[in-house]
Amino acid sequence: MASLEEQIRRILAEELQNESATTPSQVGGATKGKNGVFTSIDDAIAAAKAAEERYVDCSIETRNNVIDAIKEGFRPYIKKMAEDIVAETGMGTVDAKVAKLNNALYNTPGPEILQPEAETGDGGLIMYEYAPFGVIGAVGPSTNPSETVIANAIMMLAGGNTLFFGAHPGAKNITRWTIEKLNQFVEEKTGLTNLVVTLDKPSIESVQKMMKHPDIAMLSVTGGPGVVHQAMTSGKKTVGAGAGNPPAMVDSTANIDLAAHNIIDSAAFDNDILCTAEKEVVVEASVKDELIRKMQDEGAFLITNPSDIQKLVDMTIMDNGAPSRKFVGKDATYIMDAAGIHYTGQPREIILEAAADHPLVTTEMLMPILPVVACPDFDSLLKTSVLVEGGNHHTASIHSENLPHINQAAHRMNTSIFVVNGPTYAGTGVGHTGASALTIATPTGEGTATAKTFTRRRRLNSPEGFSLRSWRQ
C-alpha cells in the first residue's frame, strides 16, 4: 500500500500544483425554530430580525402575496379554529368566533392603505411615505387569540414589519397553531420564513424580556392595565390597547325596538367578551320599562330578586374587584345555573336594574350580565354614562333620534369608538362596518389600529423638483 501511495503521490506531484478547492455538499446552519416557533426568545427575535432585513427589501407585490397567502390559507380552517378557541379558552361562542375570524382575515386592509402623500409647489416636492418600524413585539389577549394574531400579522406585515407574538398562556395552543400555519402558508407562497415568530412555551417572563430586547423596535400590547403600563414604560414606541366598560345610552327619542335588538345582539355576541361590547345600559326613565320588555323579547333574562342579584355579585366578582375567570365569556345559562337562579328558555344575556354605582355596572364584567341604569333626563343620563365608562375612553354607543343629544354624547364620551344607533361590534368591523379593529389603542391614542399605525411617517424633500405647476429658472 505504501508503495502504491508513493507512486500515486509522485504522479500527483507531476500534475499542476494549481491549488483549487471544491466543497462538501452538506447542509448546515439550519435555523433553530420550526414554522416560526422557537424555544429561546433570543433565537426567535433573531430570526424575526433576519426575516425583517430580507422582507424590508421585498416588493409591495411580495407583501401582497404574503397577505394573500394568509387569507387563502386559513379559509378552510375558520370553523376548526373557532371551535378550538372555544374549547381551549372556554370563553365565547363558536358562531361569534367565526364572525370575528372572518372579520380579521377578510376585513383587515393591507398595503393598499399606505399610499404616500405629496405636496408640490415652488418648494419642489415634499413627499411622505409610511415605512416599517422593524420587528414589532405584540402581546395578545386570550379573548381574541387567533383573531389578534391574524389581524396583527396582516397589519404589521402590510407595513413591512415582522413580528414576535407573545401568546396569552390561556390560549397558547391555538395561538401556536395559528402562527405555525401562517408561516407555512407564507413560506409555501413566497419562500419567506419567520415573518411571525413565537415561543413554544409562552410566559410572563418571556414577554417582559421581549419588551426590553434591543431588536424589538415597537410594541403592540392588548391586555390589562399592568401589561400596558409595563409596555409604555419600556422606552419603546407602544401601541397599547386597554380596558373599557362601554355604556349603551338610550334616550326617550330612541327607536326602542331597534335599540333593544342592537344592544342584546351586540352584548350577547361572543358572550359579552369583547372590550367594545355593551357592558351596561343607561336609559331615560320614561322608556326604561319598554326597553327592558323589548330586551327580554330579544333573548335577555331579567333578574329582579335582590337576593339573586347579590348571589350573582358574590359569585362573579372576586375580592380584589376583578371579574372571576370562571365566568368570563361563559354562557348566560351557565352563569345562572352556577348561581342557582331559575330561568326559562335559553336566554343569551342576563339583565337587571341597578344603580349607577352598583359593582356589576362599574366593573368590566366581560360576561353576559348587562345592568340597566335609569336616569330622569338626558343630562343626567350623559353624566352617568361618562361616570360608569370609568374614564377608559374606550367605547360607547347611543340610541337616539335627537341629533343634538347624539352630537353632545359623542363629544362628551370622548371614546375611541362611538356607535350611533347600532351594535358596538360594528366598531370592530364585524358586519362589514369598516376595517377590522382588533387592537383598539385607547391609552396611547392611535384608536382602531390599521396598517398605518405600525409604520413610521417619513418625509422626503426635493427643492429642485418635482412640481408640474411650477418651474424656477
Partner: protein
C-alpha cells in the same frame, strides 16, 4: 484558433441505460456513491449489464474525493484491470472514478476501453468534463487533474435517476448549473465561443423556466429530463469556455463555512453578475441571454435587464428555500468578515479565476466577497 471538442457521446431518456448492453465478456469497475448499492436506481443500471461480464462495485466515495479513497479504488483497479469503468452518482462519484482511471492507467501502462458516466444529480456536468479534483487530506491541498482523455466517452442521462434526489439537492445542483451557464457565457479563459455560448444560453433558459418545477414536482419526467440535459449542456459549455469568480469564491465558501457548492454558487452569482456587468460587452452578453430566457424584454435598459436577471435568481432561491447570504445561512458575519483575506487570496489562486471577464483588484474582490456576507 479556437478548439471546440465535445467528445462525449450522450444518450438521454428513460431508455438510455440500455446502452450498457453493448458491454459483453468484459471486466467492469463500477464506481458509485455509497448510498446507491441496493437502491432501485442502481439495480436498474446493474440489470442492463450483461452477466457475461465480471463487475466489481466500488462505493467508498466521499465528497471532495480524498486521496485515501481513490487509492483504495486504484488498488481494485490494479487487481481486476478493468476494460470498462462506469461511474454512477453525483460529481464526487464521477470525479472519483475519473481519478481511479487516471492513476490506474498510469500505473499499469494500460488504457481502458471505455468510460461511461451516469449522473444521478443534475448539476456538476462532470459527465462531460475533463477534470477530476482530488483532495490530499495529508497536505490539506486540492489538486485538479485536467486531462482531455479523462473526459467520459459516454454519458447516459436517465431522468428517472435524478427523481429520487432530495429537494435541497435538486435546488443546489440546479443552481450550480445556472452558475456554470452564466459564468461560461462570459468566460475569457479558455474563452466562450459561438458553440459554448449556444449551450450556455439554452441551459440558462431551461434552468430559469424549469428548475423550480423539478423542485416542486420531483416526479415531473419532462422537467427532470430537460433540466438533466441542461446540466449536461452547461457542463459542455464550461468545459470549453471556463468559469469565473462566482466559482472561485464559492469554492472558498465551501471550504471555510461548509456551504453546499451549488448554494454557494447561487449566492455569489447575482453579485458577480453585477460586478462583471460593469464591462458593457459582458453586460450585453448577460442581457442577450436573459432576454432569450424570457426575463424582462428587449426594450428595457441593459441596467434594468441586469436587475431583472438578478431578481430572477433571488426569486428562484426564495421559491426553493435557499438563503441569500452567509448570515441567512447561519454564518456569523463577524467571522466571515475576519476570513476576508484568506478567501480573497485563495479565490485568486483558484483554477476558475482566470476565466472571469474582469480581473478584479484585491479591493474589488474583497467587495464582491463581503457582499455575500449579508
Amino acid at each position: 484558433m479556437e478548439k471546440i471538442a465535445i467528445p462525449t457521446t450522450i444518450y438521454s431518456g428513460d431508455d438510455s441505460l440500455s446502452v450498457l448492453k453493448i458491454i459483453k465478456q468484459a471486466t467492469v469497475l463500477l464506481v458509485c456513491d455509497p448510498f446507491l448499492p441496493g437502491t432501485p436506481g442502481l439495480k436498474s443500471i446493474q440489470t442492463q449489464i450483461d452477466n457475461t461480464n465480471q463487475t466489481t462495485v466500488f462505493s467508498d466515495v466521499k465528497p471532495n474525493p480524498p486521496l485515501t479513497n481513490i487509492m483504495a479504488g486504484v488498488k481494485i483497479f490494479n487487481q481486476i484491470k478493468p476494460q470498462y469503468v462506469i461511474a454512477v452518482g453525483g460529481g464526487s462519484a464521477i470525479d472519483t472514478a475519473k481519478a481511479i482511471r487516471f492513476f490506474g492507467e498510469r500505473l499499469n501502462q494500460t488504457e481502458i476501453k471505455c468510460f461511461i458516466a451516469i449522473p444521478t444529480t443534475s448539476g456538476t456536468g462532470s459527465e462531460v468534463t475533463n477534470t477530476a479534483v482530488v483532495s490530499d487530506e495529508k497536505n490539506a491541498s486540492k489538486t485538479p487533474i485536467i486531462k482531455d482523455h479523462l473526459t467520459p466517452d459516454i454519458a447516459l442521462l436517465d431522468p428517472k435517476l435524478v427523481m429520487s434526489a432530495p429537494a435541497s439537492v435538486t435546488a443546489f445542483s440546479g443552481l450550480d448549473v445556472l452558475t456554470h451557464a452564466l459564468e461560461s457565457l462570459v468566460s475569457v479563459d479558455p474563452g466562450a465561443n459561438v458553440i459554448s455560448t449556444a449551450l450556455s444560453e439554452e441551459a440558462i433558459d431551461i434552468i430559469v423556466n424549469h428548475l423550480v418545477t423539478c423542485y416542486k414536482q420531483p416526479d415531473n419526467y419532462e422537467a427532470r429530463k430537460i433540466v438533466h440535459e441542461a446540466s449536461n449542456a452547461a457542463g459542455m459549455a464550461f468545459n470549453t469556455a471556463g468559469l469565473g469568480i462566482a466559482h472561485s469564491i464559492a469554492h472558498q465558501l465551501g471550504a471555510q463555512f461548509h456551504l453546499p457548492h451549488g448554494l454557494a454558487c447561487a449566492m455569489m452569482l447575482p453579485i458577480v453578475i453585477e460586478f462583471n456587468a460593469q464591462d458593457h460587452k459582458v453586460r450585453d452578453k448577460y442581457v442577450k441571454a436573459a432576454v432569450k430566457a424570457g426575463i424582462g424584454n428587449r426594450n428595457l435598459s441593459p441596467r434594468l435587464e441586469i436587475k431583472r436577471l438578478q431578481n430572477t435568481i433571488y426569486k428562484m432561491m426564495d421559491q426553493m428555500k435557499c438563503p441569500h447570504n452567509l448570515r441567512a445561512f447561519g454564518v456569523d458575519p463577524a467571522e466571515a468578515k475576519a476570513k476576508t483575506e484568506v478567501v480573497v487570496k485563495a479565490a485568486r489562486a483558484d483554477g476558475t479565476f482566470p476565466g472571469n471577464p474582469i480581473v478584479p483588484t484585491d479591493e474589488q474582490l474583497t467587495k464582491v466577497y463581503q457582499a455575500v456576507i449579508g
